[in-house]
Assembly symmetry: C2
Homo-oligomer: 256 residues x 2
């Protein structure tokens, strides 16, 4: 079966809302019924909005560190303060952007985003995205009696590239990476770089269909993806490698 | 129409071969006829193989610089020599891997790859991938009278992530990025991070279906992708940003 990607449209919501009920309504309005093995890729911003993770940034009081970072990277101290609060590590950056890490997710500006929210407000990363993904998966199982995969996806720049691709910030119900270490290549050699980022690949498919603009497609249904279904709890660190092992973190910033 | 992704299987080829004829045969064997607007995503390694870009690495004579890099990053001096020859910039790395840039493409180890080739040999990046993509596009137009998009794709690690996603190393016939700068978001704000990496997203879809192992799926046909068709020549630098502007290159390697 060919893989198919079906965009699920929604409506603009200005307040917190029930995520599962909203997804069910959107699926019904698209005349879609989830089938066993379908993967729902949902925008992280949609989930953050459902949680009310929206902040009026001018009401934030910047700390001394935020003033310093704001000056160094030419960003508002209030924005720098939010980035500081939301991130575990700040690596460095360019004017307007710093690279941060929050809960094992590397992102420009801790994933906070001023688009698709009221002027003067900012959307933060969702709270406990793995828990949200797992709860959604169980609710779909109870209501539709099917095992679906859930991916919470954001858009992300890649090094040296123009434009955003998708990245999975959490998932449930599917194996997030496929481990090919036991496999042989066409010539019978053992494979060396041996993981495929299945959840990130699916997030990129969704990125293509979601758009960043006003077209309000917060969810995409992927059918026949061949992603491996699982009931086990996916750990937060399974899609991430430690920065000590990352060729970009260790390799960039210096030239030979 | 939902987007659909159709894998096109091929057969193992041990020598140089005619790329277009081979793709036509593979499409016929899959009972597929390309339609107007279809995008063919083709593995860069398949193209390199068609060009005979395969090297016996033990026959390479390492230079003094290659010996130095080999020592620093614990790789064979012969491999380091090939990486040096194939890359314009070497940033730095970790044992076994350096981050390089070749023709505006950032890649670990200049994109050279020891898997899916005879033991003792290495597959280089294809020669003139943009020209290859454009020639393929024209041949499909002449034979099938349809405008197809061509993407030459490789798999690539993202910073801090486990597993590979897809990256477009060249394309023709489609706009490689969608420019959303004129567009407004749901609230009428102008969008800020405003490009979508359409070709990279499509390369990731293909990455999911191609596999890295012995399953020999060097080509994937994407139908109804909504990628914008174009006859203009795509420039080598359109999908790349300068490293001076790249938040990863400038931001990683230091911690605040």
């Amino acid at each position: 079966m060919p893989l198919t990607v079906l965009p699920i449209k929604s409506t603009l919501k200005k307040e917190q809302f029930d995520l599962f009920e909203s997804l069910v309504t959107d699926l019904e309005n698209s005349s879609m019924v989830p089938l066993e093995g379908d993967v729902l890729v949902i925008s992280s911003k949609y989930i953050a909005n459902s949680q009310g993770r929206v902040l009026e940034y001018n009401k934030v009081m910047p700390s001394f560190d935020a003033e310093k970072i704001g000056k160094k990277f030419r960003m508002k101290p209030t924005i720098a303060e939010i980035i500081l609060r939301e991130s575990d590590i700040i690596f460095g950056g360019i004017p307007g952007f710093v690279i941060t890490s929050s809960d094992n997710i590397m992102a420009p500006n801790a994933g906070i985003d001023k688009s698709n929210t009221k002027s003067g407000t900012i959307v933060l990363y969702p709270n406990e995205p793995y828990l949200v993904a797992e709860h959604l998966r169980r609710k779909f199982l109870l209501k539709f009696n099917v095992h679906v995969g859930i991916i919470i996806a954001d858009s992300r720049l890649m090094p040296g590239r123009v434009g955003t691709v998708g990245v999975a910030i959490a998932c449930s119900g599917i194996e997030p990476t496929s481990d090919l270490r036991g496999e042989k290549d066409l010539y019978g050699n053992s494979l060396k770089v041996t993981f495929q980022a299945v959840a990130d690949d699916l997030a990129s498919i969704a990125n293509l269909k979601m758009g960043e603009g006003s077209d309000a497609t917060p969810c995409v249904l992927v059918r026949d993806s061949n992603a491996i279904l699982t009931d086990r709890k996916i750990r937060e660190d399974e899609m991430a490698i430690s920065y000590e092992q990352c060729v970009y973190v260790r390799g960039l910033g210096m030239r030979i």
